[in-house]
């Protein structure tokens, strides 16, 4: 890497912008703007800065529809929207996936469309923190805002999360390094533990690394719980960790004044999936008998939590909500995007502010090759290679304002700093247009009246 001189050539600074990358939603970013472009970003991490100073080569500017020969052709908005609306209106099992990188204002339009047509609405939680939400639904959710961590925490545990890589400012702004009200010396007042099979970059920053074996998470946390209950371990090594290390760790956790467990996809993606989180949550609850403990899932996209919150207050369910029968339904293994795709059920797929091409396993994406895919996004990505209609949206938090929810549930109104490219449209506008066009094409909303042929039996 070479030295990069500071940018001095800019027209104006827009202060206190919110980063649209990860669940940290850092809201202290300053954009340096020149000629309507962000030329530099202050305070952002490498990830945030790179996203805000996007690659214009691959920016989607004009709507496109896949032509006869399989090549995308630029078209006008009416044609693109009509084509997309037709696909949606004629579908029986539409899935609207994504939403995590757009605003809750856009989701409002989306849920109206979804309810009208009877679609499945799902977001990225389905492939990242879905198991966490399921564990929350089984075990509970002792959470706290990140400021609480900053002001009080003296023990921070990262489990299955590589914050240094995926949430680079998390440690610096919220958890480990900042000087909090009761932790005036910052890093020196805190103990940091990383639990990860790999000696990750976060582990390198920690006081302690617990390198339990791959897929051994459940057994490991169960052992901690047993020790918390006063049991002597029978095995010398549990999930790759020597028993004495477990005793020592438990002692430390019990003696913390305020501990926080941050967990990431390392727990949600391995063998026992939601049960890893389930037992980690229970462990945190047990620890509350000795001192104060809480946890926070390290949510990936900046508004992935927002969608879950939004769906919960709109429908009562957090993600994977199926409106097909005219009422809401949430059933694991049945109304989730990956399961639907693997079962080859959907016949129309709308992807908004997400990239299944980059994130879904082959087995799921294969079905996208067989059905119409409508993409609303800002960049040409792997999903564009599978898309039949491409609708260029705008960049929330830079070109367009909107609400998002931080990983701890704090809402933030992300402001607009520059204008979007002339030919792009706001996500909210695109979805509203789609909704109106679909409503014209399919006049009868899907109400699917309950069919009771034998009233006596009801």
């Amino acid at each position: 890497m070479s030295y990069e001189p500071p940018i001095t050539d800019y027209d104006e600074i827009v202060e206190n912008c919110t980063c649209a990358f990860c669940g940290c939603n850092c809201d202290d970013l300053d954009y340096l703007v020149k000629n309507g472009h962000v030329v530099a970003v202050r305070h952002a991490c490498r990830l945030g800065a790179s996203k805000i100073m996007e690659d214009m080569d691959q920016r989607l500017i004009v709507p496109m529809v896949r032509g006869e020969n399989g090549e995308l052709e630029e078209v006008d908005w009416d044609t693109a929207l009509d084509t997309a609306a037709e696909y949606i209106a004629n579908s029986i099992r539409p899935v609207f996936y994504g939403w995590s990188e757009t605003s809750t204002e856009c989701m409002k339009e989306g849920i109206e469309l979804g309810e009208y047509i009877g679609a499945v609405l799902d977001n990225q939680a389905t492939i990242c923190h879905g198991p966490s939400l399921q564990a929350v639904q089984n075990a509970g959710y002792p959470i706290q805002t990140l400021g609480e961590v900053k002001n009080r925490a003296d023990m921070i545990v990262y489990s299955g999360s590589n914050a240094m890589n995926s949430h680079p400012r998390h440690m610096g702004r919220y958890s480990v390094f900042p000087r909090g009200y009761f932790r005036q010396r910052g890093r020196f007042d805190r103990t940091v533990v990383t639990m990860d099979p790999k000696f990750s970059d976060t582990a390198k920053m920690s006081d302690k690394w617990i390198g339990f074996e791959q897929n051994g998470d459940y057994g490991f946390y169960n052992a901690i719980r047993a020790v918390l209950k006063g049991k002597k371990l029978t095995q010398n090594v549990v999930s790759g960790i020597p028993a004495e290390d477990i005793y020592e760790l438990v002692e430390e956790m019990k003696n913390a004044e305020f501990g926080v467990l941050f967990f990431g996809l390392g727990l949600t993606h391995t063998l026992s999936k939601q049960r890893n989180i389930d037992i980690a949550i229970k462990m945190v609850m047990d620890l509350n008998r000795f001192s104060k403990w809480g946890l926070t899932p390290m949510r990936g996209h900046f508004n992935v939590n927002g969608f879950n919150i939004f769906m919960a207050y709109e429908t009562g369910f957090a993600f994977g909500v199926d409106f097909a029968r005219g009422y809401t339904r949430y059933m694991l293994g049945e109304t989730n995007t990956i399961d639907l795709l693997v079962r080859k059920e959907p016949d129309c797929f709308l992807v908004i502010a997400a990239d299944p091409g980059a994130h879904f396993p082959n087995g799921a994406n294969q079905h996208l090759a067989d059905i119409p895919v409508i993409q609303i996004d800002i960049h040409w990505g792997p999903s564009t290679e599978l898309a039949d209609v491409v609708l260029p949206g705008s960049f929330i938090g830079v070109e367009c304002a909107g609400t998002s929810y931080r990983m701890d549930g704090v809402p933030i109104y992300m402001k607009k700093a520059i204008d979007k490219p002339e030919t792009c449209r706001d996500d909210e506008w695109i979805v509203r247009e789609l909704k109106e066009r679909v409503m014209k094409l399919r006049e009868e909303p899907n109400v699917a009246p309950k069919y009771v042929p034998n009233p006596a039996a009801e």
């Binding site: 918390l228 090594v237 037992i279 059933m331 069919y451 039996a457």
Partner: protein, 288 residues
């Protein structure tokens, strides 16, 4: 007695939802009633006769007198026998998700494989599956802490992960192997497994009993060995053989019991040797 036969004409890629076609609703239906009925598929409804050749024989005055027979591949027919309270359903072929979920009585027999959620939150009746099932057999629906409450599930093949999750009553008998975390969060009832078990049965269980006749891959630390028992009587049933008895999950002050066959798990009594248990039990239960 009324026998209604559903012969599969075509397998639809988008699953049919048969939650309305259960004995409780259709006992008085004649062939022409089926002709009028449209079955939910995705966000629409289609005539049920598009998918099944339906023949009705005999008459019935109550759901209990109904016998429904499905012939053919019902691998895309969801909710067979969902919430039924009486009658009999026989599936000669595979069945999709939610077979016999929330049923309170009657009998369902599946002669093929089942997808996940079989017998979830059932409160009574019997469910017999001759093939394999997938995850969450006899479990609770997400969020609920009270799973299957009564009745009996027999699986002749293998069961997937988290079989009998949150069980609060009833009897699950798996004649094949079980994947990880059988009987997790269980509070009452009995899970009987004749085959091998992958890992961690009874995680966070509060009460209830799990019997494993095959080999166990890995046991949780939350279980305390209580000794060796011969021919234990569990939930009123006598189990022949010698078993190692554990109590757990003590991480939760649990008082449940886990019995594993002493012969096949001899090593558990002496030194615990770590071994690669990844694929101990995984029979071919993941047929798509």
């Amino acid at each position: 007695m009324k026998t209604i036969t559903f012969d599969v004409i075509k397998r639809n890629q988008i699953a049919l939802e048969m939650d309305e076609v259960i004995p409780d609703n259709i006992y008085s239906w004649e062939a022409e009633d089926f002709d009028k009925y449209a079955v939910p598929v995705g966000n629409s409804r289609f005539p049920i006769t598009d998918f099944f050749d339906i023949t009705v024989e005999g008459t019935a005055d109550s759901p209990a007198e109904v016998k429904m027979i499905f012939n053919g591949d019902c691998g895309r027919v969801k909710y067979i026998g969902n919430k039924m309270s009486a009658g009999e359903i026989i599936v000669n072929g595979d069945a999709d998700l939610h077979v016999g979920a929330e049923m309170s009585g009657g009998a369902i027999t599946v002669h093929g494989n089942c997808e996940a959620h079989a017998g979830r939150e059932m409160t009574g009746g019997t469910l017999e599956i001759f093939g394999n099932t997938k995850e969450f057999t006899g479990a609770s629906y997400i969020g609920e802490w009270r799973g299957m409450r009564g009745g009996k599930i027999t699986v002749h093949g293998n069961a997937g992960k988290q079989c009998g999750e949150c069980l609060v009553g009833g009897h699950i008998h798996v004649k094949g192997d079980c994947d990880i975390l059988a009987g997790i969060h269980m509070r009452k009832g009995l899970i009987e497994i004749d085959g091998n078990v992958n890992r961690w049965p009874g995680g966070q269980m509060k009460n209830g009993n799990i019997i494993i006749r095959g080999r166990l891959g890995r046991l949780l630390e939350g279980f305390v060995e209580e000794g060796i028992v011969t021919n234990p009587v569990v939930n009123g049933i006598e189990f022949e053989g010698t078993f190692i008895q554990y109590k757990g999950d003590i991480a939760l002050k649990g008082k449940g019991h886990l019995y594993i066959d002493a012969e096949k798990n001899r090593d558990k009594l002496s030194a615990w040797e770590d071994e690669d248990d990844e694929y101990i039990s995984l029979g071919d239960n993941r047929l798509r």
